[in-house]
Subunit: 200 residues, 2 copies
């Protein structure tokens, strides 16, 4: 299973945003929409072996939306459709337990610490420009249950970095060019598809 964790530091936790201006009204939920598409969408299909955690920190109480490829429905490649699915999920009353929104989409209260606690058994990889080159990894380093942690346009806070370090994540880089989270996910999926890192 490939898990992608994306932290939206200003991302709204309510459905009160406009699909006509997602970047301007949702705390940049558009970044997370594109991350979802990058994680799941291939030509004529959805990746079944992917799970995405969107950590939304732009409200009074953090919320997390989880999307599970195995049962995910209604996901189209365009940004607005994804935003509409997230809007529905944010209208579901959230508690510390996962509640189902539409098929394959779940929501709960809680933030990054809770997601990391869920993924105790996964190999945690934190993407940062100054990390170790991903091409240096052997296959065992990235196969199996892997979880990739990515920030949004604001980067991680020192507190989040401490949490990630305590969870035992390795810090890995995709190169010196600073890329958007969705583009990093495209590259990670390709690495896992082709196992190119075996040749690094």
């Amino acid at each position: 299973m490939r898990n992608f964790i994306v932290v939206g530091h200003k991302a709204t936790t309510t459905p009160n945003f406009s699909l006509e201006d997602i970047p301007g009204t949702s705390g940049r939920l558009d970044i997370l929409c594109r991350a979802v598409t990058a994680a799941f969408v291939i030509s004529h299909g959805i990746r079944k072996d992917v799970c995405v955690f969107l950590v939304l920190l732009g409200g009074e109480v953090p919320k997390t939306i989880r999307l599970v490829g195995e049962t995910l429905r209604h996901l189209n490649p365009d940004e607005r459709t994804t935003a509409a699915l997230l809007k529905k999920a944010l209208a579901v009353p959230a508690t510390p337990q996962w509640a189902l929104s539409t098929s394959g989409i779940f929501v709960r209260t809680g933030g990054l610490a809770e997601v990391l606690a869920d993924l105790l058994d996964a190999k945690l990889i934190y993407l940062r420009e100054d990390g170790a080159d991903i091409r240096g990894f052997d296959e065992s380093g990235l196969s199996g249950e892997a979880a990739f942690i990515l920030g949004d346009h604001t980067g991680m806070t020192p507190e989040e970095e401490a949490l990630i370090e305590q969870a035992g994540a390795r810090v890995v880089s995709l190169g010196s060019t600073s890329l958007h989270a969705d583009h990093c996910i495209v590259l990670l999926n390709w690495f896992l598809d082709t196992k190119v890192f075996m040749q690094g």
Copy 2:
């Protein structure tokens, strides 16, 4: 310079589509919008050394929109903003000569044959799943003036494939998983950034 040519077989050539339903009203111009973002957008910036040709074949007369990184303005990472820029370009009266729309965005009549004629001196690479593995290329094969040709969700027609072959393009593959055009462009930019193909 990195050139990306994306053919939208059903993409509208008029501005008469709705920004509230881009996939449903524009002949899948959303695919081309995402290709534009993948080609240009990096964290906190635009790639200056990129040029994108969008070949729009969904109207009575083919049109091509050209986006030039060096002078491109107003491009945001979200899909709707890009669609709005393309909408403006499609409202400009088009002739066989390039006409300026907003900064860095040009439009003319003509399709794939005309774009290939513009790029006579570039190394042409046609992306197709059954092509030669991109990791087998040495640096000289992809550096310099390169032009990558990508299809949309419908694939190329036999006539287009013949044009591309006559132009001398090499057929290259990014792997056996069939990916969307924008995801291919993310990978190609990364290859060119990191020169990983030198290790293939």
